[in-house]
């Protein structure tokens, strides 16, 4: 691995800082720590980190404020940490420009997976054209040819279904909120009509999921949005 990825952790709890330091350093990241929001913003401008991990509950300013101020100039991934039963905060953070979230308490493998997704998106954004063809488990999606195959057989999608799937593919591995999906697929006028999304999502699952009621590809993040998995996990 060439240069270590620079990670800025904005988190006030020293125990969590300690465990993140151990986990990140042992996986070849270069972590830096800020104990509150202002300190975090200062360090971000100073060191230009590759990824920011941000706790939503900070002692000085709210995590959502930090996102707003960071996003004025910072384009790289922001990963949000939040407690459970704060779905509204998660959605708020994502809609303000955070890339993904993790619910406390979380395990190290989960954190590393999210970081990998974030890194890959940075690479894509900075690099060449998007991959034209994506393979997830037995699902093959050819964005350029507008073609979807499951286990080698063609799957016929309506134009809207395809648009929905391709949006998810572009953000694969990351959670997308209902609003983001609605805006990208249906347009800004429909962001308050989540029922469309539910119905189309069900139709899409009927076509690409082996067991639609127990989806493996298109996961529901209850109260937040949807996530298309990067790779089928074979548990």
């Amino acid at each position: 691995m060439a240069a270590h990825t620079k990670v800025l952790v904005i988190e006030d709890d020293p125990q969590i800082q300690r465990f993140l330091a151990a986990a990140l350093e042992s996986h070849n990241y270069a972590p830096e720590f800020a104990g509150d929001g202002n300190e975090g913003l200062r360090l971000a401008t100073l060191h230009q980190p590759d990824i920011v991990i941000l706790d939503l509950g900070l002692p000085d300013i709210s995590g959502l404020d930090v996102i707003v101020r960071l996003r004025k100039w910072y384009t790289r991934p922001i990963l949000v940490l939040s407690a459970r039963s704060q779905e509204a905060d998660k959605v708020g953070a994502l809609d303000l420009g955070a890339d993904d979230y993790l619910t406390k308490p979380f395990g190290v493998p989960e954190l590393l997976a999210r970081l990998r997704v974030a890194e890959r998106h940075v690479a894509l954004r900075g690099g060449a054209d998007e991959q034209a063809q994506v393979q997830i488990g037995k699902l093959t999606i050819d964005l350029a040819a507008r073609r979807v195959q499951l286990d080698g057989a063609d799957v016929h999608l309506t134009p809207l279904e395809f648009k929905l799937l391709s949006t998810l593919v572009r953000h694969r591995g990351k959670v997308i909120t209902h609003r983001q999906l609605l805006r990208e697929v249906w347009g800004a006028a429909h962001v308050e009509s989540p029922q469309y999304l539910r119905i189309y999502m069900r139709a899409l699952r009927e076509k690409i999921e082996p067991v639609p009621a127990q989806p493996r590809y298109l996961l529901t993040e209850v109260g937040v949005g949807y996530r298309l998995v990067e790779a089928l996990d074979d548990r």
């Binding site: 039963s85 069900r202 009621a213 996961l219 529901t220 109260g223 548990r235």
Partner: protein
């Protein structure tokens, strides 16, 4: 009785009372009764049609209980309506289904449909009668639709029994029928009803013939229909009256009517009571049932006296105030009581006796009619052979001069007798004849006439029989002694007789007082509201004393408030009166309150006032003050009256204190309950936290120990895995606890959105994938499951808890089944397992806080998971229940109501 002040405009107090009544009614649910003459006229059908109409209009309406009797057309109407599952009651091994009051209260719809108002509940239900269930629902603010047949109305019960020969045991008090906000008559001509019956639309085949022969005879049906129509018409009349009152149409408002019925020891009395009840309710009058115990009646056999008590009790349940008086003359006591209570109509039974007996001895009715004055007397026919009250002796209630005249005439009779005896007996024996006359006068006509008789006797004896005859001169001075002894003896006797009479009257007075006190205490016992208690006290005080009265209650600082701010009226003679308390008088009242002593008119303190203020002294403190301003101040000077007044005040004070203490006790109870809850919580928490913490501390310290390097890699890893899983368990416990605190600390905030239930199930199974490994999880979803409007996060948590419970409490590898059903009014989701099921009797208790199924510590949480589920589902207006499946395993089932503005 002074006439009531005719109000041209609506009386402001009456309007206020109406507004208050309307308010009370608005908080209470509205009762709509579908009323019919006989079974099968289509009441249930009409009710369900109305329910459907309401449903279509968007009302939150629920079917609480409907008896179908196998009528298919009625059953068809149930489709699409939400139906509460009936309660299953087990009684001697038989499972009976009954309307589930608790579920209905919990569901709390806007309108609930509960069939058959007169139904008697099966043993084990909360109330013995369904109408009491309905009262409770109304009290909780739920509107109720119900049905009832005319033969179930209490006061019509005997009439119906006479017509049909069938005694109906299930009755509904008239007050329930009368208090209904709406009565809809469901009418069907008898021929049509019989036709329906023959077609089998009313009863199933085998019952039809029996029914046709007994109850459903055409004659019966015509009579029942007439009764039902009339009962409905009476109600229409009352609503019209209310309308007129509201719009001041009535010019001469009749003073509040009061009806009195005389009860005797005969069989007729029961009918009299029911008639009086019907009359009183038609007039909207207060009514009394009175029994007068005369010396003859005291000697009645016990059975007859029991019947009197029975009749009075019936009158009491029909809403009468009952009184037990004693006196020599029934008519006189009845009339005295009637005047005291401003009774306007008296009902008495007509004795069926031959004319010659009437000539000899006037009947009770005759006596009452004669003395009634401006009171109307209604005479009701008796049954042949049934004597009314045993005819009383009838001493003429003559005015004074007539008593004197009668006394004098007795002396004349004695004189005539002496004239006959004169010459045949000694003169001293003639004296005896006169003395006998005087004694007779004294016992019958009292003291004055007997004194007159004594003097007259002496004079006549002297004039007619003592020589020299026909002069008052006396030849022999001995006769002076005779005169003196005769006069003294006569006077002493008359005094003694008069004293006896007065004692009897005192005894009667005492009886009346006891009766009035009893009446007061009975009313006081029924009320739980301080101001209402005050109003009751005022009303009873004003029944005895003409004037104005008010109860003044203190504010928190112990300062009496002007009574115009709350209940300031005593109701008397149908008029509402305001009791003005001038600033000065308020001070006197305050003094009475502060010093716990009476003040004002007729007392030692501030007696210049024109009202008297009596403190309402209870055992521990003074509750308030009764202010009384009599029209005639002399009324306060009668000692009996004052005694009675003070007894009234004491009783009311005790009742008010009881109400205050009960309120305080209730607060204390709540505090104790929450304290107990906290203790249970603390002990539960400390236990449940300690177990995983012990394991975490143990594992971590083992790993930190210097000797840990000697552990094999595998064992180190084992310790770490244990550390992690215990920490995760602790996390779950904390999460549950936090959720519960959040959900129960106030009204649950629902963040509702259109949600696909299949998506939630998928998410839950994904979260639990590791835990569910190796199990067959089957899912039964209807095609095109509509979206449901709910809080996505919370409902997912319910599902999560249920599935996790199924996983935790059943052996590894057993199957779990999840099913969703979409009904017209609700979604139903069930999670069932193949484990050993719930412990018997735990089906309800599993939802209680800190309840654990089997007492196994290893896999138990706090016992909070299901409580959280219930809180969430109930916040959504749904229901959650648990049961054991017949073929093993437990099933948890919850429902979510469907919204009308259904999503695509």
């Amino acid at each position: 009785m002074p006439p009531a002040d005719p109000a041209q405009r609506p009386d402001p107090d009456a309007l206020l009372a109406r507004v208050q009544r309307d308010e009370a009614r608005a908080q209470r649910g509205r009762l709509k009764i579908f009323f019919g003459a006989a079974p099968g006229v289509g009441k249930s059908y009409a009710m369900l049609e109305a329910a459907r109409a309401q449903k279509a209009a968007g009302t939150d309406i629920v079917i609480g209980y409907v008896e179908l009797h196998g009528r298919a057309e009625t059953e068809a109407l149930l489709e699409g309506l939400e139906i509460l599952p009936p309660q299953r009651l087990e009684h001697r091994g038989i499972v009976l289904s009954e309307f589930d009051l608790d579920a209905a209260l919990k569901r709390h719809p806007a309108v609930i449909v509960v069939d058959e108002l007169a139904h008697s509940n099966h043993p084990g239900a909360r109330h013995t009668k369904r109408w009491v269930d309905i009262e409770e629902l109304l009290g909780a603010g739920v509107d109720v639709y119900t049905t009832v047949n005319v033969q179930h109305i209490e006061s019509l019960n005997d009439v119906v029994a006479q017509i049909t020969g069938v005694q109906v045991r299930e009755t509904v008090p008239d007050k329930v029928f009368e208090a209904a906000d709406e009565v809809e008559l469901v009418d069907l001509p008898p021929d049509d009803l019989l036709q329906r019956l023959k077609e089998g639309k009313v009863y199933v085949e085998d019952k039809i013939r029996h029914a046709l022969n007994s109850f459903f005879r055409k004659g019966n049906l015509i009579a029942l229909r007439q009764l039902a129509l009339r009962a409905t018409a009476d109600r229409v009349d009352s609503s019209m009256r209310e309308y007129r009152e509201q719009h001041a149409i009535e010019n001469t408002w009749p003073a509040g009517e009061r009806v009195l019925v005389c009860v005797g020891p005969d069989a007729l009395s029961e009918r009299l009571v029911r008639s009086a009840r019907r009359l009183a309710s038609a007039l909207h009058a207060q009514w009394f049932a009175v029994y007068v115990e005369t010396p003859q009646l005291v000697r009645l056999p016990k059975a007859a006296r029991d019947r009197v008590l029975q009749t009075l009790k019936l009158a009491g349940t029909l809403g009468a105030e009952t009184a037990n008086l004693s006196g020599e003359s029934v008519a006189r006591e009845v009339l005295t009581f009637a005047r005291q209570r401003n009774v306007s109509k008296i009902i008495a039974g007509k004795p069926s006796r031959s004319r010659w007996r009437d000539r000899l001895k006037p009947s009770l009715v005759d006596d009452i009619v004669r003395g009634s004055g401006d009171i109307d007397v209604y005479v009701i026919t008796g049954e042949p052979g049934a004597e009314t009250v045993a005819p009383p002796r009838t001493p003429s209630r003559s005015s004074d001069w007539r008593a004197y005249a009668k006394g004098a005439s007795v002396v004349v009779v004695a004189t005539l007798l002496c004239e006959l005896l004169f010459g045949h007996v000694e003169l001293t024996n003639l004296v005896m004849v006169y003395l006998l006359g005087t004694v007779f006068v004294a016992t019958r006509f009292g003291r004055g006439p007997s004194v007159l008789a004594a003097v007259l006797s002496v004079a006549l004896f002297d004039f007619l029989f003592v020589p020299p005859l026909y002069t008052f001169a006396v030849a022999d001075a001995q006769y002076l002694i005779t005169f003196a002894v005769m006069l003294v003896t006569a006077l002493v006797i008359s005094n003694l007789a008069a004293l006896g009479k007065r004692q009897a009257s005192v005894a009667r007075q005492r009886e009346r007082r006891t009766g009035e006190l009893y009446g007061l205490s009975r009313e006081l016992a029924q009320s739980r509201d301080l101001q209402e208690l005050g109003a009751i006290l005022c009303r009873h005080v004003l029944a005895g004393i003409d004037g104005e009265a008010a109860v003044l209650l203190p504010d928190d600082a112990g300062l009496l408030l002007d009574p115009t701010h709350f209940c300031a009226r005593g109701v008397e003679r149908g008029n509402l009166m305001r009791f003005p308390v001038p600033g000065n008088d308020l001070g006197i009242a305050q003094w009475a309150y502060d010093h716990r002593g009476k003040a004002g008119r007729g007392t030692d303190t501030l007696s210049s006032a024109d009202a008297i203020y009596l403190p309402l002294n209870a055992l521990q403190r003074c509750i308030g003050v009764l202010g009384l301003r009599p029209k005639d101040l002399r009324q306060l000077e009668i000692p009996e009256q004052m005694h009675l007044l003070e007894s009234f005040v004491t009783q009311a004070a005790v009742a008010m204190e009881r109400v205050q203490l009960a309120a305080a006790a209730q607060i204390a109870d709540t505090q104790i309950a929450s304290e107990k809850m906290r203790n249970v919580l603390l002990s539960s928490i400390s236990h449940d936290f300690r177990t995983p913490l012990a394991s975490i501390i143990g594992n971590a310290s083992t790993l930190l120990d210097d000797a840990s390097s000697t552990l094999g890699e595998e064992r180190r890893r084992g310790l770490l895995v244990a550390l992690l899983s215990e920490a995760q368990r602790l996390h779950r416990l904390v999460g549950n606890l936090l959720d519960l605190t959040r959900l129960t600390s106030g009204p649950v905030q629902l963040n509702k959105d259109w949600v696909a239930l299949d998506e939630l199930i998928g998410s839950v199974l994904n979260r639990l994938r590791d835990a569910l490994a190796g199990r067959e999880v089957s899912i039964d979803l209807p095609a095109n499951l509509p979206l449901v409007r709910c809080d996505e996060v919370l409902v997912e948590q319910v599902l999560f808890n249920l599935v996790e419970n199924a996983q935790k409490h059943t052996p590894a590898g057993t199957a779990i089944h999840i099913a969703v059903k979409a009904w017209p009014a609700l979604f139903e989701v069930s999670v069932s397992d193949r484990g050993r099921g719930l412990p018997a009797g735990d089906e309800q208790r599993v939802f209680e806080k800190f309840h654990r199924g089997h007492a196994e510590a290893a896999q138990s949480g706090f016992g909070l998971g299901l409580t959280i589920c219930r809180t969430i589902i109930e916040a959504h207006g749904g229901m959650i229940s648990a049961r054991n499946l017949s073929d093993g395993g437990a099933e948890f089932r919850f429902s979510l109501p469907r919204q009308r503005d259904e999503a695509p």
